[in-house]
Amino acid sequence: MVRFKNRYVLCEVVAEEPRGRHCIEDRAVATAVRDAIARAYGDYGLACCSMSFTVKYLNAYTGTVLLRCRKDFHRLLCSALPLVRQLESRGLRCPCFLSTLHVGGTIRSCQKFLIQHNRRQLLTLLQNCTNEEERQRIRQSVLSCSLTEGQSQSGDEEEEDDTETD
């Protein structure tokens, strides 16, 4: 009857430089978010959010991060996310920002949203392609996605990480 309810916040790490991708690690993201909460909400806020705080899923190619926190304090976490300005890992520092995509109660709902979001992103990228070669590469990579025995992610589709067009 009484159970701990969590909220899962799906965010995207947006970095200006392409080599900032190497900084995206779960420990780096967790420390950066914790520091932002500590600065904004002090010791009390840090303790509240840290009760069930983890980075559940991280995709360095697309910059997708899934954070978990207690249901009562998810507003604290969501309001502290815009205050994250840089990620530090292994001595590398890359300026970036986190944009929140979706807040859900279960990992499954976040996964459903992520699948739809990635589908829409692929369509947008296909439209924004400038030359035919990139278009062919995207089409090929989409057509070659298949469910094999070795793959564990059934729904996530990987994007090309060199077609960063605004």
């Binding site: 500590a38 600065r39 904004a40 909400y41 002090g42 010791d43 009390y44 806020g45």
Partner: protein
């Protein structure tokens, strides 16, 4: 050509932010330099910043009266930040590396009429609550 008569307007805010008042006394057991009114406000804001971060430090807190001899003051805070202020005052332990403690003597929602004479309040108000 004459301007239209001014219409009478009456606004009632149902959930208007009320204020809570605290009468506190700072205990400094060692006989060192006593903080002035501005230093007391800085101490209160630093306590809020430590426990509740930037959001807590941005709470509108005013020191309405302050007596340096007895180190007692009356603080005013918006009602939504009352719990944050009281918890921050409770957990404050140091002032300039000296042990100290805030004793909360009285709390209320209306300032008591027998605080001080009005001109003293006004002077301290504009000196400290800036």
């Amino acid at each position: 050509m004459a301007p239209p008569p001014a219409a009478f307007e009456r606004r009632v805010l149902r959930n208007a932010a009320g204020h809570h008042y605290l009468r506190v006394r700072l205990e400094l057991p060692d006989g060192g330099a006593r903080p002035s009114a501005a230093q007391l406000k800085q101490l209160v804001v630093a306590a809020l910043r430590e426990l509740h971060g930037e959001v807590g430090a941005a709470l509108p807190v005013d020191v309405l009266t302050y007596e340096e001899k007895t180190l007692s003051a009356i603080l005013r805070v918006v009602s939504s930040g009352f719990v944050k202020l009281w918890s921050a005052l409770t957990l404050l332990g140091f002032y300039q590396n000296r042990r100290c403690a805030f004793r909360v003597l009285q709390v209320g929602r209306m300032a008591s009429p027998n605080v001080s004479s009005c001109c003293v309040i006004a002077w301290l108000g504009e000196h400290v609550a800036s």
